[in-house]
């Protein structure tokens, strides 16, 4: 019974996937959004119930523990929010919606599997389960044709990074004789200067960086973001980031013993932040801008991985969760602003948001201030923790770049705040806001403020989750 309770979220997700598959088979079109929200709520509830679950499956290849459940909670929470904001979905054919929900559910379950995988091949399969549905639904947009280009790019980049990763895994297996993380941890110290292992680790890390969309593996992000429907982007921008943080925390910590890896990551982190912010400055379209902003935030998360020994992972997990909340809050508004048949959301479309939907304007502002990293929002607190950890670990120069980048970031987001709050023209259509959306928006906005001022609870959760990592504590 305990085992059943432990994998409850996975089971409910499976049921949800089966349900949507059935809907797709029998062409159910009515009430799809309600079903989706209901199922997502059930999944989230299951994740809450299964919070304290502990179990091992497949000879220790898949593990349910506090660590994976920490991420399940946030991934399913984000899943619920995404389902709520798919209310309108003007850009997606009615008869495709069941399929879309099916793929989103499958991808979510893949992400949850990622956070629990403790064996490299299991990890690989879980990553594929989470990625393939996204390749498909990227092309689900009506009209135009740019969505196919985006999907193709996503697919090609994804497949190449997957190939790199599996190639790396084969090297690791060849050098260390096992694909279980628990064995790797033991075997690694004696292979620190073994070129074969190093090649394996670097290739593997390349795959992870792709998932995180960090420089120089970010090239897919802007095109996918602007090509796909906003609702899909909201999903692709938030949930996989959480899984990527989990991956970095679980395996990144193991590999950080390599001398060359840390400086390389430091350089990539700084480049990610800077390139992301600089390119975001030049954008005039909201989705592309958010894509580049995601690149720069990936850089901040890498700082935490860099400072793994000094509580950096803890901060990275905090920031990952916070990033999911702020990007969802931003996308929630973006979804409302998206107009049917238009390929993108020019920043000018946000004009007069204050007059058109004051609540959304306020939530949007909080999200942007948080993305810019100003107090009292969670974005600031997360950055503070990451920078402190990085400095403690001796990476002072990355900290300097970190704060300089928050200046660049402010420039980026201040511009959007100006357009949405300051500009007076009450042009454009009024923005519809259902009570459910309004509540969700309020919850996300408040969440950012509360996490900013009282980060203690989430930090304790993250610390407890980290303590459960395989290479530190064996399951009792």
């Amino acid at each position: 019974m305990d085992t059943l309770q432990a994998i409850l979220p996975e089971l409910v997700l499976g049921c949800a996937a089966a349900f949507f598959f059935g809907c797709s088979l029998f062409n159910v079109e009515k009430n799809m959004h309600r079903y989706a929200v209901a199922w997502a709520a059930a999944v989230f509830l299951a994740a809450v119930i299964g919070m304290s679950g502990q179990a091992e499956f497949f000879h220790g290849a898949y593990r349910v523990d506090r660590f994976s459940r920490f991420f399940s909670l946030f991934i399913t929470g984000a899943f619920l929010v995404v389902m709520i904001i798919t209310q309108r979905m003007e850009d997606i054919d009615r008869n495709c919606r069941a399929d879309l929900y099916f793929f989103l559910t499958v991808s979510t379950s893949g992400l949850i599997l990622v956070t629990g995988a403790t064996e490299l091949l299991t990890l690989f399969i879980a990553l594929e389960i989470s990625s393939y549905p996204l390749y498909i639904i990227t092309s689900y947009r009506k009209g135009l044709g740019f969505q196919f280009e985006a999907a193709a790019k996503y697919l090609v980049f994804g497949v190449v990074s997957t190939a790199l990763m599996i190639y790396g895994i084969s090297y690791l297996y060849g050098a260390l004789g096992s694909t279980f993380l628990s064995d790797i941890v033991v075997a690694l110290p004696s292979h620190l200067y073994d070129p074969l292992t190093l090649v394996g680790v670097i290739l593997f890390m390349a795959g992870l960086l792709y998932k995180l969309a960090a420089f120089p593996f970010h090239f897919w992000a802007p095109d996918v973001y602007s090509g796909a429907a906003v609702e899909v982007v909201a999903f692709a921008a938030s949930l996989p980031k959480l899984a990527a943080v989990a991956l970095f925390a679980r395996v990144g910590g193991v590999f950080m013993d390599f001398d060359v890896l840390a400086p390389a990551l430091a350089i990539l982190a700084v480049l990610s932040m800077t390139v992301g912010n600089l390119l975001a400055l030049a954008q005039t379209e909201l989705k592309r801008l958010l894509a580049y902003s995601a690149v720069s935030h990936a850089g901040y998360i890498l700082l935490g991985v860099l400072a793994a020994s000094q509580g950096g992972l803890n901060s990275a997990m905090f920031y990952g969760a916070v990033y999911a909340v702020m990007s969802l809050a931003a996308f929630l508004v973006a979804v409302q602003m998206a107009e049917e048949g238009k390929n993108d959301i020019p920043l000018d479309d946000l004009k007069g948001l204050w007059h058109r939907a004051p609540l959304l304007a306020i939530v949007f502002t909080i999200a942007l201030v948080s993305l810019a990293g100003l107090p009292p929002t969670a974005g600031f607190t997360g950055k503070l923790l990451l920078l402190t950890a990085a400095w403690k670990a001796g990476w002072f120069w990355t900290v300097v770049f970190g704060v300089l980048n928050s200046l660049l970031g402010l420039f980026v987001y201040l511009n959007i705040i100006r357009i949405s709050l300051v500009d007076d023209q009450a042009s454009g259509r009024p923005v519809p806001t259902s009570p459910l959306l309004g509540t969700t928006a309020t919850a996300l906005g408040l969440g950012l403020l509360v996490l900013g001022v009282f980060p203690g609870g989430l930090l304790t959760m993250a610390r407890k989750a980290l303590a459960a990592l395989l290479y530190i504590v064996p399951l009792t």
Binding site: W354, P358, L374, L384, V399, L407, I417, L421, V422
Partner: protein, 511 residues
């Protein structure tokens, strides 16, 4: 030795209340149905805050050193954050200045603001609470929270309700400020790594190495110099002042600028005493440049608000000069200058706003001779102008005199360089005053004199300026213990050569 924390003598948490009452009140504004009620509500709220803040003065124990009215609660233990508030003789006058201006800025926006009134009032109330928080915070990260949280409401205040070039001014303001305060963030993280807590009393008890102090001083200076604003980072100020609505200008001039000098006293002097001594010559040079350059620029302006803005640069230059003479008189003078500049320049901006509401222009030429039509206006303008140029008998005289005393005590040449600044002040303020009051060439024929609401705004400021001009003791006796404590931290044997100090610090960094 950690400074002593004296717990709150009152039954209620006064500081918390005057910080969060206006901020919480701002959240309730959307519920109020119409604009007029919202204005009344904001006025009552800010008046209540003012009343609540009075015990900070009346119950302030002059015999105690250290911090009073302390409120301490655990905040985020694992990160080293505490919710720690407290005041001493340096921060208490600043808080009272802030709460005094609360109702005044609401009143001066009564008819000035016509669009999105409730949102504007929400911004006002938010800034009100946040600014008190800046002065009351004794946890350095809490300080930073407040320091930075001010940016967005101020940005909106300028950007939404400002003049024609408001976007430019608002963006410039925010970017300049943040460009400075990212270094403050670095400094605070650096301090945290030394102290393992953000608590100011603990950090104060650290003995930091001279090298660390050197960099700490520069990082802190970057943040505070922008706020003050010191030469050469003052360029945001005229733009922001000119474009901001009256309330915004008043808040900027009277309170926001003081955060810079307050930061210098609270952080630079207290935490980096060695570096303060070493770098004092640099600061004195920058201050004198600000005094003279600000004065000259002010003399050349034809826009009333710009003229007052540049005069602020010069006046704040006197304050920084006073601080970095590192003499007792100089620091007393600086504190008085901060308060008096707040009262005086706040008053001048109020007058500029009232004039603008009548003539829709801030040009000296357009507004020439308005004093003939509006005698009461002329009277207040005369009083505030005289105070601004530090005429004996007005409050600013005492402050500026003490600053100069400190300068002469340090070195007569320093004092001699600052004297032309005082003369310039007379020149530009008299130019403003004469032109607006007696010049005949104005093109406006009729204008309503000050109404009751405007009188209410100006009278308290005018009264305080007169009182403090003749009797500054209430202020001095409050700040003296705190300033003595601050200066006692400075190493003896002042007057190290700056170049030597810089070289030492650089050598210690470069192996």
């Amino acid at each position: 030795m950690e400074p002593i924390l004296h717990m709150n003598p009152m039954g209620i948490s006064v500081l918390t209340m005057i910080i969060f009452l206006p901020m919480g009140g701002a959240l309730a504004l959307p519920l109020i149905p119409d604009d007029r009620a919202a204005k009344m509500y904001s006025l009552i709220l800010t008046l209540a805050v003012l009343v609540f803040s009075i015990p900070l003065y009346t119950r302030f124990d002059l015999s105690l050193t250290g911090f009073q009215f302390v409120e301490q609660y655990p905040w985020v233990k694992s990160v080293g954050l505490t919710y720690l508030l407290g005041i001493d003789g340096i921060s208490m006058p600043m808080i009272l200045l802030t709460t005094l201006f609360g109702p005044i800025v609401v009143l001066c926006s009564w008819t000035y603001i016509t669009k999105r009134v409730r949102a504007f009032l929400a911004c006002l109330l938010l800034t009100q609470g946040i600014m008190v928080g800046v002065f009351a915070a004794l946890d350095v990260m809490l300080f930073y929270f407040f320091f930075e949280a001010l940016l967005i409401p101020m940005f909106l205040m300028i950007a939404v309700w400002g003049g024609p070039r408001r976007i430019y001014a608002a963006v410039k303001f925010v970017l300049f400020t943040l460009a400075g305060s990212i270094f403050l963030l670095l400094a605070l993280i650096g301090l945290y790594l030394q102290a393992h807590t953000f608590s100011y009393p603990v950090i104060m008890s650290l003995s930091l190495s001279p090298q660390f102090q050197f960099w700490l001083f520069l990082a802190l200076l970057a943040a505070f110099a922008v706020k003050i604003p010191m030469f050469p980072v003052h360029t945001w100020l005229p733009a922001a002042h000119v474009e901001a609505p009256t309330a915004g200008s008043v808040i900027l001039a009277s309170i926001l600028l003081k955060m810079g000098t307050y930061g210098l006293l609270r952080f630079n002097l207290a935490l980096a005493p060695q570096a303060s001594v070493d770098l004092a010559p640099l600061m004195i040079v920058l201050s004198i440049i600000a005094i003279i350059y600000g004065g000259l620029l002010s003399l050349a302006q034809t826009d009333i608000k710009k003229l007052i803005a540049y005069s602020s640069v010069a006046h704040m230059g006197f304050a920084t000069l006073g601080i970095f003479t590192l003499t007792f008189q100089g620091n007393q003078g600086a504190m008085l200058q901060m308060i008096n500049h707040g009262l005086t320049t706040g008053g001048l901006f109020l007058l500029a706003g009232m004039l603008y509401e009548r003539t829709h222009s801030r040009e000296l030429g357009v507004n020439a001779g308005m004093g003939r039509l509006m005698p009461a206006f002329g009277f207040f303008l005369g009083l505030f102008s005289l105070s601004s140029l530090a005429f004996p008998g007005t409050a600013s005289f005492v402050g500026e005199f003490l600053c100069l005393t400190g300068a002469f005590k340090l070195d007569w040449r320093v004092g001699a360089w600052a004297i032309p600044g005082a003369l310039l002040a007379a020149a530009y303020m008299f130019r403003l005053f004469l032109k607006l009051t007696w010049d005949a060439k104005g093109n406006k024929k009729v204008a309503r004199d000050l109404n009751f609401r405007e009188w209410i705004c100006l009278v308290p400021l005018a009264a305080l300026i007169m009182v403090f001009g003749f009797y500054p003791k209430p202020l001095l006796q409050v700040m003296n213990p705190a300033l003595e404590g601050l200066l006692a931290r400075l190493p003896v044997g002042q007057g190290t050569d700056m170049l030597v100090a810089v070289r030492q610090a650089v050598e210690s960094i470069v192996p």
